[in-house]
Symmetry: C2
DNA sequence: ATGAAAGCGCTAACAA
DNA sequence: TTGTTAGCGCTTTCAT
């Protein structure tokens, strides 16, 4: 009933000192069994719970981690947030969310706001870092982790899928299927995911002496994807790619829709489509999209591990760059392997 | 560079008292122009920013609001979270996220954890409240708001779309289109959204003396939706509904996929499908789903308003039950109005 | 308008 | 093992 129950009140009721109460609620402190029960009983009766903020002030650890995220319309992130939040909760931390979306002007300002909360760590999901941010966080002694982005900066860890390997897998696969006119629809070129995926694709093509047949930029956005598709496919049939790798699933859905419903092309017979991420709708029958899976469970686990390690042993911690391999999931938007007699429609270079 | 810059250090550098620094950073405090610039300069040079946690301790306001959410696989929520987070940031608050998903056992425990952070308010998105929770929050003096759920409980505000009106609109619309064999696939029956939408549909049917032709429960889940669809449509053609209202879009996508790809039915010619929410994929050509729009912008704005009002004037605040009207968005999964010559395929009761 | 002093609820030495 | 004593960084009377 009372507005706020303090440790002092519990102490008085139990007839002990306030520090005794503190110790009982501090895992691994030295308290006798008797003391523990006495205090816990009193706490129970009063409905006492420790004030995390007060604890944070004196201990220097708030058990809050900041999470900065930009594109919630890419359905990879809701899933990631959910898993990350759960994993953090399991470790006794909680996630303070910060949107760095279009409306919010400057990310640097957002970071300043976050740091005001004395957070224990900061996770950036698909957000570009500036050296200002890094400097600020380092000055504040706050560990930084890039989630689903890689950036070569001093002292910053990053967790991604192995985008280069993934891109190469797609390239090898399309080539094995018999495709020789392969197009690529790029994401935002400032993103490492985009660059690495494209580099992987190019590595595969180069290894087989096949040139990239067409390229457009979709910037990871709906409108960008639609326009890129028109630019690439609204041309005479003999100038069209027979396969297209789209830098992520979110764009690939709009590519598929535009190909089928606007341009009247058949997938995969006229053109095979491959995405990247394996977000849930990729498995929905309406899309049935071949794609490279990002293992979000593993990525989240590595993120949490990295964070915890850095918190527990700040001294001998070295920033890590983790790239997690993910499988190619072959579905109906492309031909199945082995590729005997596939992709003839537009084949024959 | 220094680990932590305090108000005291700024005060010393500016040659003023610590309280002066505090006042300069407190909007609406009385400080001379001269003092303000002097302090701000010193703060700037030192890179000082007020510690929100310390402020929270003494002021009793943390400027953190808790957000408890369960189903992130329903794409209504990512959007809502993004907007809510942005709106709260604009008001100087930040969102501490708590997943109450399958893995997390008890919601009551989650709420206890949240309260430990001395949050200023608690928003529940599609989470069932218990009287225990309400009691705890009230004891702690924490305002509660139900987002997208309605529940008759003392002292709890709720913000929803007008689900009853929405359900009725769907009913009226389907009847006007000429449908007389209308089925309903229900969500989780513990949810007010489910109950209200169904009640609205029934009100429309009853007004026209049309019985509900079929009913299954999908529990707002993928598997539930698929099984409900089979149960309702994997029967002789003359026992099939000619239209089905699905309690939300998330399920409707699986209903559509199952109808088309598994059962080989044509939408809307064999059966019209209507959903609820108007999440982004509903507008994607592959689904093109007729649905009732939930105005998430308005819902978020009402949520923030309600929260702010209760914070600022706790005395004369009365919990509000807000239901926001949303339009029926007619797309290709159903027939367009006026209904001349539509729905003949299975029509004629 | 400004400064001094008290204290928010807790943890962390230090004694006992 | 337990109690005593200082603060953590800030806001807030109360004087001036």
């Amino acid at each position: 009933m009372s507005e706020k129950v303090t440790a002092l009140q519990v102490a008085q009721r139990a007839g002990v000192s306030q520090s005794a109460v503190s110790r009982v609620f501090t895992p691994g402190a030295s308290v006798s069994q008797k003391m523990a029960t006495k205090v816990r009983d009193a706490a129970e009766e009063l409905g006492y719970r420790p004030n995390i903020l007060a604890r944070a002030m004196v201990s220097g650890r708030s058990r809050i981690v900041g999470f900065v995220v930009a594109y919630l319309d890419n359905y990879f992130y809701p899933e990631a947030i959910e898993k990350l939040s759960n994993a953090m909760q399991a470790e006794g931390y909680h996630v303070l969310m910060f949107m760095a979306s279009q409306t919010t002007g400057n990310i640097d300002d957002v970071v300043d706001e976050i740091l005001d909360y004395q957070i224990d760590g900061l996770i950036f999901a698909s957000v570009a870092m500036s050296s200002t941010i890094v400097a600020r966080c380092q000055a504040a002694g706050v560990p930084m982790i890039l989630f689903n982005r890689r950036q070569d900066m001093e002292g910053v860890s990053s967790i991604t899928s192995d985008n280069f390997a993934g891109g190469r897998k797609v390239g090898e696969y399309l080539i094995t299927c018999g495709h020789r006119r392969i197009g690529y629809i790029a994401g935002w070129e400032g993103a490492s995911t985009q660059r690495d995926r494209e580099a992987g694709l190019m590595a595969a093509l180069t290894a087989h002496d096949i040139p990239l047949f067409a390229r457009e930029v979709g910037n990871f956005r709906k409108e960008g994807a639609i326009e890129a598709t028109r630019a690439m496919f609204d041309v005479p049939a003999n100038q069209r790619p027979d396969a297209v790798f789209v830098a992520n699933d979110h764009m690939a859905f709009f590519v598929l829709d535009t190909l089928r419903h606007e341009l009247g092309l058949k997938v995969p017979d006229d053109v095979a489509v491959v995405g990247y991420d394996d977000v849930p709708p990729a498995a929905w029958p309406a899309y049935d999209l071949t794609t490279v899976r990002q293992r979000s469970n593993t990525m989240v686990q590595e993120t949490v591990d990295t964070f915890i390690r850095q918190i527990e042993e700040p001294e001998d911690f070295r920033p890590r760059q983790v790239a997690i391999d993910g499988p190619l999931i072959i579905r109906g938007s492309s031909h199945s392997l082995p590729s005997k007699g596939k992709a003839q429609t537009n084949a024959g270079i």
